[in-house]
């Protein structure tokens, strides 16, 4: 049993324009797991991240990380953040290795002159995301998937124990998505906590251990098996999902009463198969974990 390292207690966020983005959200996240943060666009996923990093001030409640305030946790480089890529200026005159090196600034001295350790950490991080050969490219000269990987490498170089990823799979091809998921799993195996915001339902059961479903308030939180059910998802997505259901006789030529439910918004569909018309989850087999010794 690992102890919680991120504690979110009764968190509410109201933006200055009066918009309530989050209301009374409480969760405890523990290390060594991948947690999916699932909700429709505008549900407050990014806002929750911003609150966890202190970019927005909670109107009520608080976030603590490893028992510390957010501010102190950031100073200790405990948290790494991979932004939604749309928010980055791709024409900025920095090379791939410069960007990854920025992850190390918190470890450097006043002048931010990189030491050997820093150079090594950058090389390693690039190696892990398979981007070493691109290190002299200007960041705009990369494909969508490569750009994502660079920002993951930056988070790795920083060495935080908690990694927050905001929609890492949007605009990424399946191959990169799979290799990112493999990478996440090996990182979690090393005892990190990874929180992934996504509205991409299909892949959630295949790589997450836990899910948080939100829509302004916390709808459900728990392990994927017990929480990622059709009922909960309908709550989270309302009418936003395309919903196809094939039950019993429609699906089988025999007496089998089980059914298939396919839920999809735009990307990977979520397939639920089993009793009650597939309302309970039959978990897609988890990908192989990185070899544990």
């Amino acid at each position: 049993m690992s102890n919680p390292i991120v504690t979110i207690k009764n968190l509410s966020v109201t933006y200055p324009n009066g918009h309530h983005a989050l209301e009374d959200v409480s969760v405890n996240l523990k290390s060594g797991s991948i947690c999916g943060l699932v909700g429709v666009n505008g549900a407050g996923k990014s806002t929750l991240f911003k609150a966890m990093m202190g970019f927005v001030k909670p109107t009520a409640g608080n976030v603590s990380i490893d028992g510390m305030s957010v501010r102190n946790a950031l100073k200790k480089n405990l948290v790494s953040y991979v932004p939604q890529t749309e928010e980055v200026d791709w024409d900025f005159p920095v090379l791939v290795e410069d960007v990854v090196m920025m992850g190390r600034y918190g470890h450097m001295g006043f002048l931010r002159r990189p030491s050997k350790t820093d150079h090594d950490a950058v090389a390693q991080a690039l190696e892990r995301v398979n981007m070493s050969e691109y290190k002299k490219r200007q960041i705009g000269e990369l494909s969508g998937g490569q750009r994502k990987r660079i920002f993951v490498a930056r988070a790795l170089a920083q060495g935080g124990n908690i990694i927050l990823l905001d929609e890492p799979f949007t605009g990424v091809d399946i191959k990169t998505e799979d290799s990112l998921i493999d990478l996440f799993q090996s990182l979690v195996a090393e005892g990190r906590l990874i929180l992934v915001a996504t509205h991409n339902l299909g892949s959630v059961p295949s790589f997450c251990d836990e899910v948080i479903l939100i829509n302004k308030t916390l709808l459900a939180y728990g392990s994927v098996e017990t929480t990622f059910t059709q009922d909960n998802l309908s709550k989270a997505f309302g009418g936003m999902l395309r919903h196809h259901q094939l039950i019993g006789a429609d699906l089988h030529d025999d007496e089998d009463a089980r059914g298939v439910t396919v839920l999809t918004d735009d990307e990977r569909p979520l397939v639920l198969y089993g009793e009650e018309g597939g309302k309970k989850i039959v978990r897609t087999p988890k990908r192989k974990k990185a070899d544990k010794t």
Partner: protein, 284 residues
């Protein structure tokens, strides 16, 4: 007392200044309703500075100033378009680069023959000493602008709100956009005479933004904005008689004060009201 208040109207030049300012202020305010919603506010500033070399040359060569202004305005807009197409620079950098360069060229022209052009009049406005020839140009420009705006204001709303939708219902989107920018540069050219190049930006932004804090309906927004623009301009010119200060400065100071009042006290979007609603919601 009444006599004193009416005194400015007994002077022909004051009377002219007041109504010309009101006219130009109204036209600029009309355009400001659109401009400030699109994030193009600084375009107004850029155009106003870019036309300085044209105006200087026109005065040097004794041509109508509006012709020179238009010519360099179009040249500046073209330069921005070309630099934008050729480089990956941010838009604000391109705008800033082009307008300051044009402005510098204007100053160079003036510095070659400093006595022929009153540069201060171009930069800070010269409405109290404006010639009838210049008034004629300002009035023609303003009426054309008003005419086009009154005809097409709804089409422009559609285009600015949702370009794709406008296109789908068959509006000539590009033509309307070009029309808008032509009107904007025309209004800038007119406003140059009343408040000068440095303050044109206020005329084409502030009244619209103030109205935006007061209403949610576009038709009403335009009405409020035009009223504000005209009244403040007339009042500023009028007050300059008593205060003996630069009319452009007075007009814009007035507009800014009214904006600040709306910012704090507007019934729905004012700071005080918003603060109160947040406090109430959080408390509940």
């Amino acid at each position: 007392m009444i006599d004193l208040l009416l005194e400015p109207f007994t002077y022909n030049y004051m009377f002219k200044a007041i109504w010309v300012c009101a006219l130009v202020g109204g036209v600029c305010a009309f355009l400001s309703s659109y401009l400030m919603l699109k994030g193009w506010s600084l375009m107004g500033d850029a155009l106003a500075h870019s036309i300085v070399p044209g105006v200087a040359l026109a005065y040097l060569l004794a041509l109508p100033y509006a012709v020179g202004a238009f010519f360099t305005g179009i040249l500046a807009a073209l330069s921005m378009a070309i630099v934008k197409q050729k480089t990956k620079l941010r838009e604000d950098a391109i705008i800033g680069l082009v307008f300051t360069t044009f402005f510098a060229i204007g100053l160079l022209i003036v510095s070659i023959n400093p006595t022929a052009v009153n540069i201060q009049a171009i930069i800070l406005g010269n409405i109290l000493a404006i010639s009838d020839y210049d008034i004629a140009q300002v009035v023609i420009i303003s009426f054309i602008c008003l005419f086009v705006l009154l005809l097409k204001w709804k089409d422009l709303v559609a285009v600015f709100f949702d370009e794709n939708h406008a296109r789908s219902i068959g509006l000539p989107v590009n033509a309307l956009k070009i029309t808008f920018f032509t009107l904007l540069s025309a209004a800038t050219v007119a406003a140059l005479q009343t408040v000068g190049a440095c303050l044109v930006i206020a005329m084409v932004v502030t009244p619209g933004a103030t109205a935006y804090l007061l209403t949610d309906r576009f038709g009403r927004l335009i009405t409020i904005s035009v009223l504000l623009g005209s009244l403040t301009s007339a009042l500023g010119a009028y007050a300059s008689y008593f205060l003996d200060a630069n009319p452009g400065g007075l007009i814009v100071t007035l507009q800014t004060l009214i904006f600040l009042a709306a910012f704090f006290f507007a019934p729905k979007y004012g700071l005080l009201k918003v603060r109160k609603t947040i406090a109430k919601k959080v408390g509940a």
